[in-house]
């Protein structure tokens, strides 16, 4: 009887793990409180727990999506949703150049958003993305650690990392790869970045967004590495696409 129930239990377990197979590709980020780059000490942001894709979406993943949703192939996509450089490196509507497991790039925000929706997921918010990306291999918030910042800055200087396969950078504290070192990534609310005078003029109340304080030491490096990201987001429009810009999806944790 005991054996029987053990077998049953195993069968059940394997069944269960099949259903939740999707979750294996996602890591749980427990969330917490953090101070974003543009924040001040009293502007701590609380990030609730969420799931995040372990890897960015690859060419192969995206090809599958485009086959299932032909309105998003290179020919059919509406110009409201994607500019001319959409999938520009692909060789056709259903064929890409490069590795199947390289991150898909040259996708617009609309396309990335739709892809995630079709997986029953969503794009991560900027706070979720930044929260997960503060981690190095060992700690949740490595932003003041020199090696962490140096890694990012070295990456900025390395050309064409977008053609590398996913999963070759470090596995971070949460079990997530490639947040740094491969491509930049879309976030759901990328258009909440308000860099005064840069992206859009006459925005209200953001004069303190980057209070240009001349800090020295590690925080300078930290600010520089992150500032590049924020500035890039601020310069994007939802239909733009870029060779250095991919995405991954996130999901709420079901209760």
């Amino acid at each position: 009887m005991k054996l029987h129930s053990t077998v049953l239990c195993l069968v059940f377990l394997s069944f269960f793990s099949t259903i939740s197979a999707q979750k294996i590709d996602m890591a749980t980020v427990k969330g917490g409180v953090y101070l974003p780059l543009y924040g001040t000490a009293d502007k701590l942001v609380t990030v609730s727990p969420y799931l995040m894709d372990v890897y960015p979406v690859t060419n192969a993943d995206y090809l599958k999506f485009v086959k299932e949703n032909p309105q998003w192939n290179r020919t059919n996509v509406k110009s409201l949703f994607a500019d001319k450089s959409y999938l520009t490196n692909w060789t056709g509507d259903y064929s890409f150049k490069g590795l199947p497991n390289s991150p898909v790039t040259n996708v617009s925000w609309f396309a990335a958003k739709k892809y995630c929706e079709c997986q029953g997921k969503r794009l991560p918010t900027m706070d979720e993305w930044e929260f997960a990306a503060m981690a190095n291999e060992k700690v949740q918030d490595a932003r003041k650690i020199e090696t962490y910042n140096q890694y990012i800055l070295n990456w900025y200087e390395t050309p064409k990392t977008f053609s590398n396969p996913v999963g070759e950078t470090f596995k971070n504290y949460w079990g997530i790869y490639d947040l740094h070192g491969l491509v930049w990534e879309w976030t759901l609310d990328f258009n909440s970045v308000l860099i005064s005078g840069e992206s859009r003029k006459d925005v209200d109340k953001d004069s303190n967004l980057f209070c240009g304080s001349a800090a020295i030491g590690a925080s300078d490096l930290m600010n520089y590495a992150a500032f590049m990201r924020y500035a890039f987001r601020g310069s994007m429009k939802a239909r733009y696409s870029s060779q250095n810009l991919g995405f991954r999806c996130a999901k709420d944790i079901d209760n």
Partner: protein, 206 residues
């Protein structure tokens, strides 16, 4: 934050349904002026009417953006609890409206889209319209889901961020669309010279 989770959950459950959507529901037409509808005409690729979003008006009616097709549309994103920029944006819109000649007034629809759909219920939008003496049906106030609002702002290239439950920072942009929903012009800033905007509207309106 709880609120956010709730909203995100609602959005998530909504978006699962809407993956392969061609949005068939909500074809009510509401009190929006419907005329010269470009029936059967293909919507241009850059038209905002390609967006499948649904909106609720200040009168509590559900509409699709497409309902506005056939009008010159002047659009701005605001929120009703806004104390600083929005009253000026409202004034800017009124100012533009005033300069459109009488015979063309009927062809233009002025639309305010809320960036704070949680607070801006139809009742609130209605009260806001009343306060601002914008009860004529050429003034339309819309509220959508958080998700559709985000997407719409992305199309208009309007940035916004919630900085407290009652306050947002946002870019001040008034956009003009032609009868087929293609963006013709954007005016940025508060109280700026609106000559070009008015000229574009007059040029488009019949």
């Amino acid at each position: 934050m709880k609120k956010f989770i709730l909203a995100a959950t609602i959005i998530a459950s909504f978006t699962i349904i809407s993956c392969n959507n061609n949005s068939k529901k909500n074809t009510d037409t509401a009190e929006v002026k419907k005329k010269k509808k470009a029936e059967g005409e293909k919507i241009p690729e850059m038209s905002i009417y390609n967006l499948p979003s649904h909106w609720t008006t200040q009168n509590g009616e559900d509409i699709e953006l497409k309902t506005l097709q056939g009008n010159v549309v002047v659009m701005v994103m605001i929120y009703t609890t806004c104390k600083a920029a929005c009253p000026r944006l409202v004034a800017d819109m009124r100012n533009i409206e005033k300069q459109v000649p009488e015979e063309k007034k009927n062809d233009v629809q002025y639309v305010f889209v809320s960036i704070d759909p949680e607070t801006d219920t139809p009742e609130r939008l209605k009260a806001f319209a009343k306060e601002n003496e914008m009860e004529d049906d050429k003034w339309l106030f819309l509220r959508g889901t958080k998700e559709d609002t985000r997407e719409f702002a992305a199309v208009l290239a309007v940035s916004y961020k919630e900085i407290s439950p009652m306050d947002f920072s946002h870019s001040n942009i008034i956009s003009v669309f032609d009868q087929r929903g293609e963006m013709v012009l954007q005016q940025e800033g508060l109280g700026v010279d609106n000559k070009e905007t008015v000229a574009a509207i007059i040029d488009l309106a019949k």
